[in-house]
């Protein structure tokens, strides 16, 4: 194979050198073409570049600047204070509680969402009938405005007239004031998180399932892996591997960005029981106007999210190598 290619290469050589000679003149037509193309490109991309700078890059730099200085709203001057804001943030019991809460929330939401999403997706894909009907039902919470649905959940969880406590009382189980109890508030928010994101995970898994070639199932059949569990183990789950990693990270990212339910239902309470990172960021920056503190929290949040996204990119790359 390599020999003919070498021959082809050598036959190309003379024409290539001949081509170079014609490009010697100072402003060749090709140069001019390239110049107009560059001009056109930057003109087309100009607005986007401008807004990317003003709305993304300057603000990011801004967050770091605010986090490293003592600047306050309305202040005319600022001075560099190093890591003082970060020291304050990490020394704060409230912030530490917020980090712990966020991690707990993520650790409940991610496995719950991924496992249920996968189960529902496997069940939907295992038969032919009513596929889009079931998909629609399970995807609905992801579409619905979470702020409004949080209000519906509040009614559902109402200590006296809520359906949850009524049901529990009817079958003789203990009831609780779900959103006002330090022990239950965060898990309940996590359940709402699972409820909301499950359909999203399901849809991603469905796409993954659809991309498994039927040939592999046929091969498994002929090879003798024809029981449901064997097929699952030989073909389905391994082939879903990369998608699953992707879903885990995407859901984790969404869980880290939990805000609406906290704002509507608990405002971080009772105590600090449901204080999560984004809510802390919002409250410190915009309610207490502690800009330095808020910016430091934003930097911490940024680091977490960027790390997760980079891991996700790595996973996506690996998926490409899989085939």
């Amino acid at each position: 194979m390599s020999e003919p290619r070498a021959l082809c290469g050598s036959s190309d050589q003379p024409s290539a050198t001949g081509g170079v000679r014609t490009f010697r003149s100072p402003v060749s037509p090709a140069r001019r073409r390239a110049f107009t193309e560059t001009l056109a490109a930057w003109a087309l991309a100009g607005p986007a570049v401008f807004f990317l700078f003003v709305l993304f890059f300057m603000p990011v730099i801004g967050v770091f600047v605010i986090a490293l200085t003592d600047w306050q709203f309305g202040a005319r001057s600022l001075s560099f204070v190093g890591l003082a804001n970060f020291r304050e943030v990490f020394a704060d019991v409230g912030f530490r509680a917020s980090v712990v809460n966020t991690v707990v929330y993520v650790l409940i939401v991610v496995p719950g969402t991924v496992v249920f999403g996968l189960l529902i997706a496997l069940l939907i894909e295992s038969g032919k009938s009513c596929r889009s009907f079931y998909r629609a039902i399970h995807f609905l919470p992801f579409m619905a405005t979470l702020t409004a649905m949080a209000i519906a959940w509040e009614a559902l969880l109402h200590p006296t007239i809520g359906l949850v406590n009524q049901t529990l009382a009817a079958i003789g189980l203990p009831t609780a004031n779900w959103l006002r109890d330090e022990n239950t508030a965060l898990p309940v928010l996590a359940v709402i998180g699972i409820w909301q994101n499950l359909g999203y995970a399901m849809v991603l898994f469905l796409a993954g399932l659809k991309s498994i070639p039927q040939d592999l199932y046929d091969a498994a059949d002929v090879d003798g892996a024809d029981l449901w569990l064997d097929r699952l183990r030989t073909v389905t789950l391994p082939m879903l591997g990369p998608v699953s990693m992707f879903v885990v990270i995407v859901v984790a990212l969404r869980a880290f960005e939990c805000f609406d339910t906290v704002k509507v239902l608990t405002q971080g309470g009772p105590g600090h029981a449901t204080d999560v990172l984004l809510y802390t960021l919002y409250r410190e920056s915009f309610e207490y106007l502690r800009t330095g503190y808020g910016a430091a929290v934003a930097v911490v949040f940024l680091v977490i999210v960027v790390t997760l996204t980079l891991v996700q990119t790595r996973v996506m790359d690996r998926k490409v190598h899989y085939q």
Partner: protein, 392 residues
């Protein structure tokens, strides 16, 4: 090892009928090719043989045993898929051991960690490894066992797929267009390897392809399918030279066989395209026939007249040793293609009038309904009815 018999298989997908009552019997150790254009139902038939699809009617037996209700696993068949269908997350070794593990180890023994602790697992697993290594070596892929399919070339993947089918020593090998994903050069090489494999193993092969060359070179027997029906089952040389049906004649051979409408003038004489050929038609005068003449059955002659066709040259294709000459004949709307030896026909130009002679024994006669009309003298088959009856 086993013979295969297929009896009036029917299969519909909704309103479309994919197989319309296909019957076929394959001898033990035979290499049978299902040949047909895409969409003719050949792959469906193979999948029904494997048990991947269930027929709507009819039955399949493998080695005298009806396998209709049986899952693929219990049919003692192995299959090589067009896409190879190798498990991308497993090494070559795991791909090849899987069919043996599924058969020889119980569900408990196959459990991820616990299985290894059960009695017998280690011994059986070791045996399987030995067999897989032996098979891999025999296919020349012994050094690839630790790799994953993604790291292999097309030809290597093909060998792994064959190896995965081979390790189980199945009674029947099913192959679904296994060479279609390879480049032309590799395809020829793998074709030879498959033929050799069949000779070495001596088991029954059922091979699906749309490629005539593969069918012709590999098979003991070719089954030509079209529109869900089996048109002819015969050795490759007969499929080419002695087709039962007009559609078979037209599907096989490149360039395509020439089909000319003719009328029987009297015994031995047929009027065709403004000329008369001397062919023993054995049909009643006035009967309409179609003459199938392969391009290579023509030769140049100096004069027109009885026994020769005359036309004007429309186009010439130079193929090296041969010329394909396209001739416009009077009263025929599509050109006739004659394959002539280049050295015998040195100066032909478009527009020129040309006379070509036909060897009468190379002319195939077809009735209007497409059925082949055989001359009584040349056929020993009892099934062929006298031409006189059919051509009426």
């Amino acid at each position: 090892m086993a013979s295969v018999s297929i009896d009036s298989i029917r299969k519909n997908y909704g309103p479309t009928s994919v197989l319309r009552g296909v019957s076929l019997s394959i001898a033990d150790g035979e290499f049978l090719t299902l040949l047909g254009p895409s969409g003719c139902g050949k792959s469906t038939l193979l999948r029904i043989l494997a048990g991947l699809e269930v027929q709507d009617a009819g039955s399949v037996s493998i080695g005298e045993r009806a396998v209709d209700g049986l899952r693929p696993k219990r049919r003692d068949v192995a299959m090589v898929f067009q896409s190879y269908a190798l498990y991308p997350h497993m090494t070559v070794a795991s791909n090849m051991t899987l069919p043996l593990r599924m058969r020889r180890l119980s569900a408990f023994q196959r459990l991820p960690l616990l299985g290894r602790l059960l009695p017998g697992t280690a011994r059986i697993a070791a045996e399987i490894d030995v067999e897989v290594t032996r098979t891999a070596k025999s296919l020349g892929i012994g050094h690839l066992l630790a790799r994953k399919p993604g790291q292999l070339s097309g030809g290597q993947r093909q060998r792994v797929a064959v190896g995965r089918a081979m390790v189980r020593h199945p009674a029947v090998f099913l192959m679904d267009e296994p060479l279609s994903n390879l480049d032309a050069k590799l395809r020829v090489q793998m074709r030879a390897e498959i033929k050799e494999l069949h000779q070495r193993l001596g088991v029954t092969f059922v091979y699906v392809t749309h490629d005539q060359a593969e069918a012709m070179t590999l098979s003991d027997c070719v089954a030509v399918m079209l529109d869900g029906e089996l048109l002819q089952v015969a050795p490759p040389q007969d499929i080419y030279a002695d087709p039962d049906d007009r559609r078979v004649a037209e599907f096989i051979g490149s360039p395509k066989i020439n089909m000319l409408d003719g009328v029987v003038r009297e015994r031995d004489l047929i009027d065709v395209a403004g000329s008369t050929l001397t062919i023993e038609a054995d049909a009643l005068a006035g009967a309409h026939l179609t003459l199938g003449i392969r391009p290579e059955a023509f030769h140049l002659v100096d004069h027109g007249g009885q026994g020769a066709l005359t036309g004007s040259v429309r186009m010439i294709e130079h193929m090296g040793s041969d010329l394909f000459v396209h001739l416009d004949l009077a009263g025929v709307d599509h050109p006739l293609i004659a394959r002539l030896l280049a050295e015998r026909a040195p100066h032909i130009a478009p527009g020129q009038t040309l006379h070509v002679g036909v060897r009468p024994d190379r002319v195939l006669l077809f009735a209007r309904n497409g059925r082949r009309l055989r001359r009584e003298v040349e056929t020993g088959r009892a099934s062929v009815r006298p031409i006189r009856e059919i051509a009426r």
